[in-house]
Amino acid sequence: MATRAIDSRNTVSAVAADDRRRWFRGQAFWLVAPALLLLVICLGLPLAIVTLRSFSEPQWGWQNYAWFFGTPVNLTVLQRTFAISAWVTLVCLIAGYPYAYVMTAVGPKMRLVLILCVLVPFWVSGVVRTLAWVILLQDSGVINSVIRAVGLSPVKLIRTQTGVVIGMAQVLLPFMILPLYSVMKTIDLRLMQAARSLGASPARAFAQVYLPLSLPGVYAGAIIVFILALGFYITPALLGGPRSTMLSTLIQNQVLSLLNWGRGGAMGVVLLIATFVLLALAAPLSRQPHKTGSTR
């Protein structure tokens, strides 16, 4: 009798808990609903319209895509967009990898200083940072006055591809350093000591132990920098010239200046697809397979 009472009480409370969980889940969806609604209105609808117009303006068909892929200038710009993004990613990686490593190796006070150096530009308005690069790179700018003071002949930096890469890499560097750092700080440095004690040279210990463990951070940082670079608009628009135009500028030009929604839309769809294909390809790489330094 007593056991049955306990049993039934257990069942009742289990049912109640179950009910509550189900209610929780139903309610949980409603909590996310406003964000989803906003996403549909401000992201889904606009992207749908861009895609639709790329097929429907001025008339139905693939004409805008045929134009895009049939015009050499467009292909040059597309290729350049990928090339500039690749350069920016490479520069960020070369500058960011050692920096992120040092962040994990120094004491807490120094680490705070290094983190601040990464975050300060992060918090300064993007337009202002680009303005700073205009001041630095222009023909009468800081870099060229230094070069002239030393007695060398001035270099053309603004409105060149080099200038665009330098400026973009600086703007995007924090996006490389932060993922690198978050992976590197989980790497147990004693693993390197272990490799050394087993006779590996420092270079070999790095290449065979540290580098593979840090790869998820490299992939995560590289993919986010590359994707953001592909869609960059402000920095190339202000630092670049006609010979360093990127796809974003071309899209803006088609829509705002030429009012050609079809062609602009087709370019937008190309950029969008490139972004999502890259994301889909790279997402599995940047997942950390397992935490290091655990007991296993």
Binding site: P34, L36, C42, G96, V124, I135, T275
Partner: protein, 261 residues
């Protein structure tokens, strides 16, 4: 050998740190230029560009516009994002994983493509150059940052505390208000700050949907840079730089004081 390697690595880091921070500082001397030019070095000293920023109706209107949009956006994005973070936290992990990925997409969609689409929608709905238009678009862009910030603090939040409060007789709302909310407040606050900055700094969508009636500060800076070499932009840059540095400095001070307690 090892020592030399370390010194080299340290120097390399110093170089990268200079590259990260120094370019921004260059706007400070430019803002005191006495001539209407952005050529370096400035030829003399004057305050006129700061004076121009505060007295010219164009500049002050864009500052006010930006502040209005950013404040409203921050409030909306924080409420919507916090609700969503809670919802995601309480869902089956498979569903929440998909939804989370979906809700974060605004961060990776190329800005110009999004801006073109929003512009098209707004032209039809007569939202170009309106407060509603700006706030809608900026809220959508800012919500992912709030979700990330609040989710991070929900992850370390011990749900048993809510159960404990409930077992002591608190209703769900009371438990939320007196236990959950104070514990995740830092996450919500940083989400709010991120949302504000996202809106205040946003330019690409703003460039498309701007109008003479409502302009934001980044748009004004951009058009000033492309129009002529007006050092007022350097003055604005300096002011923004100093303000954000003060805010971050204050945040760090408060944070370290709380850490010591």
């Amino acid at each position: 050998m090892k020592q030399r390697g370390r010194i080299l690595l340290g120097l390399y880091c110093l170089l990268v740190a200079v590259w990260l921070v120094a370019p921004t500082i260059v706007v400070v001397p430019m803002s005191f230029n006495d001539k209407k030019s952005l050529a370096f070095p400035p030829s003399g000293f004057s305050w006129q560009w700061y004076q121009n920023f505060f007295t010219s109706p164009e500049w002050s209107a864009s500052l006010v516009g930006s502040l209005k949009v950013a404040v409203v956006t921050a409030v909306f994005a924080t409420v919507i994002g916090t609700l969503a973070a809670f919802g995601l936290d309480r869902m089956k992990s498979r569903v929440s994983g998909v939804l989370r990925a979906l809700l974060i997409t605004p961060m990776v969609v190329p800005g110009v493509v999004l801006a073109v689409g929003i512009y098209a929608v707004y032209l039809d709905m007569r939202l170009v150059g309106t407060m509603t238009g700006f706030v809608l678009a900026h809220t959508m862009l800012a919500v992912p940052f709030v979700i990330i910030a609040v989710s991070a603090s929900l992850e370390v939040f011990d749900k048993r505390l809510e159960t404990a409060a409930a077992s002591l007789g608190a209703t769900r709302l009371t438990a939320f208000r007196t236990v959950t909310l104070p514990l995740i407040a830092p996450g919500i606050l940083s989400g709010l700050l991120f949302a504000f900055v996202t809106s205040f700094d946003e330019i690409i969508v703003a460039l498309f949907i701007t109008s003479p009636y409502l302009k934001t500060l980044p748009v004004q800076i951009f058009s000033s840079i492309t129009r002529d070499a007006d050092p007022t932009v350097a003055a604005v840059g300096t002011l923004l730089f100093i303000t954000t540095s003060l805010v971050i400095g204050a945040g760090l001070l408060i944070g370290s004081r709380q850490g010591k307690r």
